[in-house]
């Protein structure tokens, strides 16, 4: 093995001073060789980002300080200890020897400067290029990261580019001076799955072609499996395990790694299973009980030709000038005691569809039949009554609870609204709901800020369960949670379904999670369902081109199934905004098999 480019030796980083000192990184050592991708993986608070920022000595700008350890970087003219380097040396290293990519492509670029300026200022600084030479190099870089129409991009501002393109620009900036080490801090976390696949393939190709060392920070084990050569697992500021990627996945040694891997749903592992099945978690001895498929499924919710537009207003009188076609002629049926998943990338209309069913937004047309009553026909009073049967769980556990209300009052609110319980009966029912979602009763008197994200999501579930609904719409309900917490909440939802016969409309962007929990799956694209059918049909026999694209793009948490060999490029999603005269064609479907429908193109 070649000599490492960078070696971390007993790195220790603290934040704050005096009594308030927090040690974010305790004792971290590892190294990265040229041409090697080392993934640093861990959940929030593990210190993985602080480690990467320490290498760039950017941690100081966030109030942290390196109190111990050596960070040896090999430069052509000898080794440098980054922990001790002075400001001028560090400025020469940043962007020159080490390039860095960050998580948020939407905020990583300066909104008031052109792409050209942001690409060239590093080149002119480090390589002393003239303006014209820097411009040529910038153009070459944009071509290297495969941005369409690179000449035009140079003159553009960041807001004129899509998220995926911005991340390519950020990568081009990091690659500008041909760094020997590339640090990528969660570079794909904020991106859709197809864009993520493109960016991962790009980083992989650049590493191969340039022989760079790559330090890749992520929380996502599936991404690790796809891109890592070696893996460093971090937990609360310490390295708990380190090794080649195949070993880590096949034969994890640390308990934490085992628990982490057990909590990750892997695309394809539900193959051949008739019904959703809870994840088998470490430390939970109960064998997972697969849900029994209903013998005679009865429909609970029938959605027909549901269409929702959002008006776009403009001018001094705020006239209605255009429509965003969020949901376009969507039809499906959800059976009692089953889960139907709506899956798709951001902006595909899946959330709007869920909210239209509850009439949190008003649909333009269609019908939503819940237990033989059309939700869209109800007057406000009847609608309120009907909402007892359908409840919702939201994505952001920090925003879905009122910060100024005690948890008991928030869970009690639906019961009080419908006059279902009062006095001691109310107290008892709320306590029972807390038991039901495995929250200690001592939390009843607490306020939301005293809870973790997963605990808050349990409160939100308890609130949804309070009125004994038949249907729960879960809108990205586990997306904001760490993977181990996500697994617990998913298991809770499946357990509730088995015990109470609940139906879930499960809205998600995560194909692996969807495969875990669904009886039926509907894939959405540009407001329409492009393919719908039993879970096995969608995952094992996808017919629509977009479904296949999605499945091809999803990273699999198995280093044996790598997908990044070639450059990937998917067609970008067009805008759903149309002027007022636009009349879309109805959705028509071909039946592939009973219950398995595929949208007919150009219908």
């Amino acid at each position: 093995m070649t000599d490492p480019i960078v070696t971390l030796d007993r790195l220790r980083v603290t934040f704050g001073a005096g009594d308030a000192t927090v040690t974010a990184v305790k004792d971290v050592s590892f190294s990265i060789a040229p041409g090697e991708t080392v993934c640093v993986v861990g959940e929030s608070g593990s210190g993985k980002s602080v480690t990467s920022l320490s290498l760039m000595r950017l941690v100081e700008f966030g109030g942290g300080s390196i109190v111990d350890g050596r960070l040896t970087l090999m430069r052509p003219d000898g080794a440098v200890d980054l922990a001790q380097a002075d400001t001028a040396t560090m400025r020469g290293i940043r962007g020159h020897d080490i390039g860095m990519i960050f998580q948020e492509p939407m905020t990583s670029l300066n909104p008031v400067f052109t792409i050209e300026r942001q690409l060239t200022d590093g080149l002119r600084l480090h390589l002393g290029l003239s303006a014209a030479a820097a411009r040529d190099r910038a153009l070459a870089l944009l071509k290297e990261v495969r941005i369409p129409e690179p000449e035009r991009r140079l003159k553009q501002y960041p807001h004129e580019l899509s998220g995926g393109m911005r991340q390519r620009v950020v990568i081009a900036i990091a690659m500008a001076c041909a760094p020997r080490l590339l640090i990528a801090d969660e570079p794909t976390t904020a991106l859709d799955v197809t864009i993520q696949a493109e960016i991962l393939a790009l980083i992989n190709r650049l590493k191969r072609e340039k022989g760079m060392a790559v330090m890749f920070i992520t929380h996502d084990m599936a991404v690790v499996a796809q891109i890592a050569d070696r893996v460093v697992v971090m937990y609360r500021g310490d390295v708990v395990e380190e090794g080649p990627v195949a070993d880590i996945f096949a034969n994890p040694k640390a308990d934490y790694t085992k628990a982490l891997l057990a909590a990750v749903p892997r695309l394809g592992e539900m193959r051949g299973k008739p019904a959703p099945e809870p994840l088998r978690l470490v430390g939970d001895d109960r064998a997972p009980q697969p849900l029994t498929p209903a013998a005679n499924p009865e429909p609970l919710l029938e959605v027909n030709h549901l269409t929702t537009y959002f008006p776009v207003r403009g001018g001094p009188l705020r006239r209605h000038i255009a429509n965003i076609h969020a949901v376009e002629d969507v039809s499906f049926t959800l059976n009692k005691g089953e889960t139907l998943s709506l899956v798709g990338e951001s902006g595909c209309g899946k959330s709007s569809c869920g909210r239209s069913i509850l009439r949190l937004v008003e649909p333009a047309s269609g019908s939503v039949i819940l237990d033989r009553k059309d939700v869209l026909d109800q007057n406000p009073r009847d609608l309120r009554r009907l909402r007892r049967d359908m409840q919702m769980i939201f994505q952001d556990p920090f925003a879905s609870l009122n910060p100024y209300m005690r948890l008991s009052a928030q869970v009690a609110e639906p019961l009080r609204n419908f006059g279902l319980a009062a006095g001691s009966e109310l107290t008892d029912r709320v306590a029972a709901l807390f038991d039901r979602v495995d929250l200690p009763r001592s939390y009843l008197r607490r306020f939301p800020h005293e809870l973790s994200g997963g605990q808050r999501q349990r409160v939100a579930i308890a609130r949804a369960l309070a009125v004994n609904p038949k249907l729960i719409i879960a809108d990205e309900a586990v997306s904001a949670l760490d993977v181990s917490v996500q697994a617990q909440v998913l298991n809770l939802m499946m357990e509730l379904q088995a015990d109470l016969g609940l139906s879930f409309l499960f809205i998600s962007h995560d194909m692996a999670v969807v495969e875990r929990v669904s009886h039926h799956v509907a894939v959405m694209y540009l407001g329409r369902i492009v393919e719908i059918g039993p879970r096995a049909a969608i995952f094992e026999n996808p017919q629509h081109a977009y479904t296949r694209t999605l499945l091809r793009a999803v990273p699999i948490a198995d280093p044996g199934t790598r997908k990044l060999d070639s450059d990937l490029s998917f067609t970008p999603i067009p805008s759903p905004m149309h002027d007022l005269t636009y009349r879309p064609a109805p959705s028509t479907y071909d039946t592939v098999a009973p219950g398995h429908l595929v949208l007919r193109e150009n219908a």
């Binding site: 950017l58 860095m100 905020t107 300066n110 909104p111 008031v112 200022d121 600084l125 500008a176 403009g314």
Partner: protein, 313 residues
């Protein structure tokens, strides 16, 4: 183009609303113009006659129509105190006030932006503590207090500058600026303190953004990161707040111009208010509100030049 038309329509609508509000506020008077002209001891019959001839017995809407018609055709009426046509009177005073408003805004911006950036860069350290405390004290002192202190120090104490009066810039520019200097400073110091706080808050937010980290990760010097990357983003919000403060300045000139006997719009409005000169009050209030609105419009348009995200869509 469509954007500009929309913008102009919006301005017209706002001007119309401003005129309605001006008229409504000044017409809730218990007394009326006739009484002002003839005095409270006058003959009731003569008073009634004058009311009739001035059209004060007409419905409010007719009176409003007559007033706004006059405004549009350039006939703004005659001041009861100055016995002069209101239009030219206001035009002359507006230029006097424009001089101190522009001077005070310039003083405030030139000092506040570097000070606020400096405080944000040294956030939570002694530099920030000093600048923030000074700014906090600055926003807490009333303008007339600043004015009195400046008169005591520069006019009475050191005798450097005149403490009273107005000279037209066309007559003697240097003298005009000397007369305008203390009132401008009295207005500008409070504004400077306010804008320093704003700049600091905006810059603090911007320096925490991801693109600042990206700029540092490129190896750019801290000076470039702060004064180019950071300030380019802060300047828009700071100018917007400065534009909103034009309204505050046009309120403050009433106090400060009276204190310095500087005969501008503020002084004129004050004379009108003191003497309940209703036609002059209406004209002055309308003009001040219109100027404030147009100043904000100008800042909005300026913003579209600074921030590429809101180029005329």
């Amino acid at each position: 183009m469509a954007y500009l038309i929309n913008r102009l329509l919006s301005v017209a609508l706002t001007l119309f609303l401003i005129s309605v509000i001006t008229f409504a506020v000044t017409n809730i008077l218990p007394g009326d113009v006739a009484m002002m002209i003839m005095g409270t001891q006058s003959n009731p019959e003569a008073l009634a006659g004058l009311r009739e001839s001035l059209g004060l017995n007409d419905p409010q809407i007719v009176q409003y129509g007559r007033w706004i018609g006059g405004i549009l055709t350039g006939d703004w009426g005659t001041s009861l105190v100055f016995k002069e046509p209101i239009g030219p009177l206001i035009a002359q005073k507006v230029t006097a006030s424009a001089l101190i408003v522009v001077m005070s805004m310039t003083i405030a911006l030139v000092c506040a932006i570097p000070l606020g950036v400096w405080a944000a860069v040294h956030r939570d350290r002694w530099q920030d503590g000093t600048a923030s405390t000074a700014a906090l004290i600055g926003v807490s002192l009333p303008d007339f207090f600043w004015g009195i202190m400046l008169i005591l120090l520069f006019a009475r104490g050191l005798g450097w500058l005149p403490s009273s009066g107005f000279v037209h810039p066309a007559d003697d520019f240097t003298l005009a600026v000397r007369h305008a200097f203390l009132p401008s400073l009295a207005l500008g110091l409070g504004l400077m303190a306010h804008l320093t706080r704003m700049t600091r808050a905006t810059m603090t937010g911007i320096l925490g953004q991801e693109f600042i980290r990206v700029a540092r990760a490129k190896g750019l010097s801290e000076r470039t990161v702060v004064w180019r990357y950071g300030l380019a983003n802060a300047i828009g919000p700071v100018l917007t707040v400065a534009g909103l403060q034009v309204g505050y300045l046009f309120g403050s000139i009433i106090v400060v111009e009276s204190l310095f006997n500087y005969t501008g719009m503020g002084w004129l409005t004050y004379q009108a208010l003191l003497n309940r000169d209703i036609p002059l009050i209406q004209g002055s209030v309308f003009v001040i509100a219109a100027v404030v609105m147009l100043a904000n419009l100008a800042v909005d348009l300026l913003y579209t030049l600074i921030d590429p995200r809101i180029r005329l869509a």
